[in-house]
Assembly symmetry: C2
């Protein structure tokens, strides 16, 4: 059985080398040189910091959108995908107080979150990890891991700029961006 | 800061006395005499078993439904509410593979889960705890804790029968029912 829980373990050494790290909104994370994405939990004591997230059922994707996503997307770990970006975000109390229909309206009807992501498939692969319900005290709500080839790095920047310009991002109250290369 | 995580710690002693315990669907839980509902995590070793769940944002409730719920509901811990029922359930792989619109259609459009619950407010108070994303290996997906006065016990039985007769319950693959009285 494959786990749904992943640990992003950061420090001096790891499978991915950090090329840039910045706090976009709110508190930064301690600077690190490298990071590994490991299945399951890992002891925090062995690393500078560890973020944990769990893959889960989709919260907003509808059937027609799922069909498009599944038809276009490819997995992580493709050989040419030597670039990765980890984006931990936390959403505000105001976001979590919205009802399901209100969150869906912000997320897709007005912010086009799914539609934007689909436009960059299969080039930019991603995996979403949920943290909010692991414990009541997680530092972030979501960890998104992106992988792409160096030739798609500019396209990734556009994708990121589009999401950050959306109404949904008004509800992001902490965001860190960590860029990496494999090896 | 109040926690969102609760532990249902069961064994020989506790704040609530078990009056009946049964496996409704699938594997039973070991029989116990009493149970306490404790904020935060507790060591499993001190109890016969411990189930943990976390309160979270609503996954299906829409704005108009929220208004009705908030207007009618009352909290846990009311003095006349000396009866409680804990219902741990797990939903099937088929449920979790549905998209958001499909789950909403089963949950409310066809099963009237919210509408049924509203009908029994404020008499039957409840709190929903999510377990599925605490770890990848939780024995249940949800723990629902109900409280009501002895005079409302028959109404509770009807509420439960209505939910179990719904299409949504076709997706329940494990369910345990534990009835309790305070003290």
């Amino acid at each position: 059985m494959t786990t749904r829980l992943y640990s992003f373990a950061a420090g001096e050494q790891g499978d991915w080398t950090v090329t840039a790290q910045a706090a976009v909104i709110g508190e930064p994370l301690p600077a690190v040189r490298a990071l590994s994405v490991l299945p399951g939990p890992v002891p925090t004591v062995d690393h500078r910091w560890v973020l944990r997230g769990i893959t889960s059922n989709e919260r907003y994707v509808e059937r027609a959108e799922r069909e498009v996503l599944v038809a276009k997307q490819q997995g992580l770990g493709r050989a040419p995908s030597t670039c990765a970006v980890l984006i931990p975000i936390r959403k505000s109390v105001a976001w979590w107080a919205l009802t399901q229909d209100e969150r869906r309206a912000v997320f897709e009807t007005r912010s086009k979150h799914i539609e934007i992501g689909v436009r960059y498939l299969p080039a930019i692969a991603r995996r979403l990890h949920h943290c909010r319900d692991l414990t009541p005290d997680e530092p972030f709500d979501f960890l998104t891991w992106f992988e792409f080839a160096p030739a798609d790095a500019q396209a990734f920047d556009v994708l990121l700029a589009e999401l950050r310009a959306s109404e949904e991002w008004h509800y992001v109250d902490r965001e860190v961006e960590i860029r990496l290369t494999r090896g």
